[in-house]
């Protein structure tokens, strides 16, 4: 397949995942705020923007919840907003119509058209929960339709790989920003709610309770979100999943940069000692993890899409 098709599929995966994760984060922040005092609001909004790496892009008032929410949902100038992500995913999918199933195209296009048809500004004012759930459902529909209507060939693997890498980064960011605040926050009741919110933002609350019962213990929670081998939003699961897709896409006897980096960051996660990390430099560890994962993205980009930064299509004309 052409590398630009592979790249478009990969980014479609990333955009849809980004839209879904943004909705999850907004949802859980919104519900968390109901239980917090007003003075916590700016901090909660800053946390939210920091997780999404948008704290420097947003130039409005942090205590204005509506402004932050609109920035993250509606603002098409913000490439990280839900609307922008869905628009880009749709643009990619439109160029790929002969490569993807028509059901997948319809799912993405319907999502986009519905998003435009809604009065989102009024909806997030009146019933934000319903909006976030709808976005999540629409994203999961796209993911599900892709899985059930496309042959699981190379193209599909790129789609999955984009999704998994985006998710791995998102979970790391979430832990990175939230973990400090949670450890500092003290008060048992507030702390419990915030832990629960963190788990819920990645749909891990129930899975976590099944594994560890009601003990909301920071270390157990952290190891669940980092290390769970079978929870689909844990960092380890996403990294191993990406590795599997890569192995299928590449020749077995040669190791590419992307695989090497992925193996290293995977091992770093799997063999880390959570207990001592919590007491030492957890923030540094999570930062490093994020950097490593984005390096994997760069390596994938280089290997499949843009062989080397200066290796591009060149036009020449002789005199």
């Amino acid at each position: 397949m052409l590398s630009r098709h592979a790249e478009d599929l990969y980014w479609t995966g990333r955009y849809i995942e980004r839209a879904e994760d943004t909705a999850r984060l907004l949802d859980v922040t919104y519900h968390g705020m109901l239980e917090w005092s007003d003075k916590d609001v700016p901090q909660a909004q800053r946390d939210l923007l920091e997780v999404l790496f948008l704290d420097e892009t947003f130039d409005g008032d942090l205590s204005d919840t509506a402004a932050v929410t609109e920035f993250l949902v509606l603002d098409t100038d913000n490439p990280g907003s839900i609307t922008a992500a869905v628009e880009r995913a749709r643009l990619n999918a439109r160029g790929l119509r002969d490569r993807i199933s028509s059901e997948l195209w319809e799912a993405i296009n319907t999502f986009y058209l519905d998003l435009r048809a809604r009065d989102l500004r009024a909806d997030i004012e009146r019933q934000p929960y319903q909006v976030y759930r709808w976005v999540r459902n629409a994203c999961q529909t796209v993911t599900g339709v892709a899985a059930e209507t496309m042959p699981h060939d190379d193209g599909y693997r790129f789609l999955v790989m984009g999704r998994l890498l985006e998710r791995a980064e998102m979970t790391c960011r979430l832990l990175d920003v939230r973990y400090h605040r949670l450890v500092d926050s003290g008060g048992a009741a507030t702390a419990f709610n915030r832990w629960a919110a963190l788990l819920k933002s990645v749909s891990a609350y129930e899975a976590y309770l099944k594994e560890y019962r009601a003990a909301v213990d920071p270390i157990k929670m952290l190891s669940f979100l980092l290390l769970s081998p079978n929870f689909p939003r844990s960092v380890r699961y996403c990294l191993r999943g990406t590795e599997e897709q890569l192995a299928e896409l590449l020749e077995p006897d040669r190791l590419t940069d992307a695989q090497r980096l992925l193996g290293m960051v995977g091992a770093k996660v799997e063999y880390c000692d959570i207990d001592s990390l919590v007491n030492a430099d957890l923030g540094g560890f999570l930062d490093e993890l994020q950097r490593d994962i984005s390096q994997v993205g760069v390596a994938i980009d280089r290997h499949f899409f843009h062989h080397a930064t200066d290796l591009d299509l060149h036009f020449y004309i002789s005199r």
């Binding site: 062989h307 290796l311 591009d312 036009f315 004309i317 002789s318 005199r319």
Partner: protein, 294 residues
């Protein structure tokens, strides 16, 4: 009559492997009233399958691609061509038709601006002033050629493909392409249809344009212009030098400007910094007294 053997050679050297190279070559001499192509062979290394066709302007295009990785590409086009003397244009041809709608429509594509001939109004004003109300087309064109030679000095390496014409004129120097584009731009501003010609010049020094003393010379590709003389036809003029266009000029083809007849262009996947070497070797075939009388 002159019989010339021309070897057009281009070599690309890439610092690392490139792939998917697609190229269009315009190096094959045309056949018209003043020259005849006797043979033409194209060789590429790595070898490629070449598809050839004649484009809208009447130029032969050789299209070839090399998909697999390679770090070197050489293109050799060998041609043998016979050239004949050209008659001088009718000196009394009138400039009236330049203002005639039917004539203008017929030559429309050579009157409109093209990317390489767009210039600021001062060049056009100068051209209109020079042509003024002259009645003789040939004299009008000669006035423009003199002006181009006054504006530009021949200095290789001072310009590049795609440089704005105003900048070239402001700088006051250039190579044959710049001379040709400047003349074409001025002629068109004055309502005289003009077209760009790409070809080879059998002269050791392009700026002098005289046939060489040695039998074989190494040169670059050359460019000149053709202007429409009403009632007579296209008159080839070489603004770069003072020689009339004749047996030592070998035409490849013509177009609105450089873009329509660029000798070699293409794309490839790989690093940007390739080394490109172009050389043209021309030698004159010695003919017996009998042959040259034929």
């Amino acid at each position: 009559m002159m019989r010339l053997e021309i070897r057009y050679l281009t070599t690309f050297e890439y610092p690392q492997q490139v792939r998917d190279s697609h190229n269009v070559l315009r190096a094959c001499p045309t056949t018209d009233d003043f020259q005849a192509l006797l043979s033409y062979t194209l060789t590429t290394d790595p070898a490629a399958r070449v598809l050839s066709h004649i484009d809208y302007w009447g130029t032969r295009l050789d299209v070839f691609g090399i998909r697999h990785p390679h770090d070197r590409l050489s293109v050799i086009a060998d041609s043998t061509v016979e050239t004949y003397p050209r008659p001088a244009p009718e000196p009394d041809a009138s400039t009236d038709p330049y203002r005639d709608d039917a004539y203008r429509t017929e030559h429309r594509e050579y009157l409109a601006d093209s990317p390489h001939t767009i210039a600021g109004s001062s060049l056009g004003d100068r051209a209109r002033q020079l042509v003024g109300d002259r009645a003789q087309a040939v004299a009008a064109v000669e006035a423009l050629i003199d002006e181009v030679r006054r504006l530009l000095a021949y200095e290789p390496g001072t310009t590049y493909v795609g440089m704005n014409l105003d900048e070239v004129v402001k700088q006051g120097s250039g190579v044959c392409q710049d001379f040709a584009h400047t003349l074409i731009s001025m002629a068109r501003s004055a309502g005289i249809p003009a077209r760009y010609v790409s070809g080879y010049l059998y002269a050791a020094d392009q700026s002098l344009g005289r046939p060489p003393e040695e039998a074989e010379i190494e040169v670059q590709t050359h460019a000149w212009a053709e202007v429409a003389i009403p009632g007579w036809g296209w008159w080839a003029v070489d603004p770069t030098n003072r020689e009339p266009v004749g047996e030592h000029h070998v035409k490849i083809g013509h177009g609105r400007d450089y873009d329509d007849v660029a000798p070699l262009q293409g794309v490839y996947h790989g690093p940007a910094n390739h080394r490109l070497g172009v050389s043209v070797r021309i030698s004159r075939e010695q003919m017996s007294e009998y042959q040259s009388q034929q």
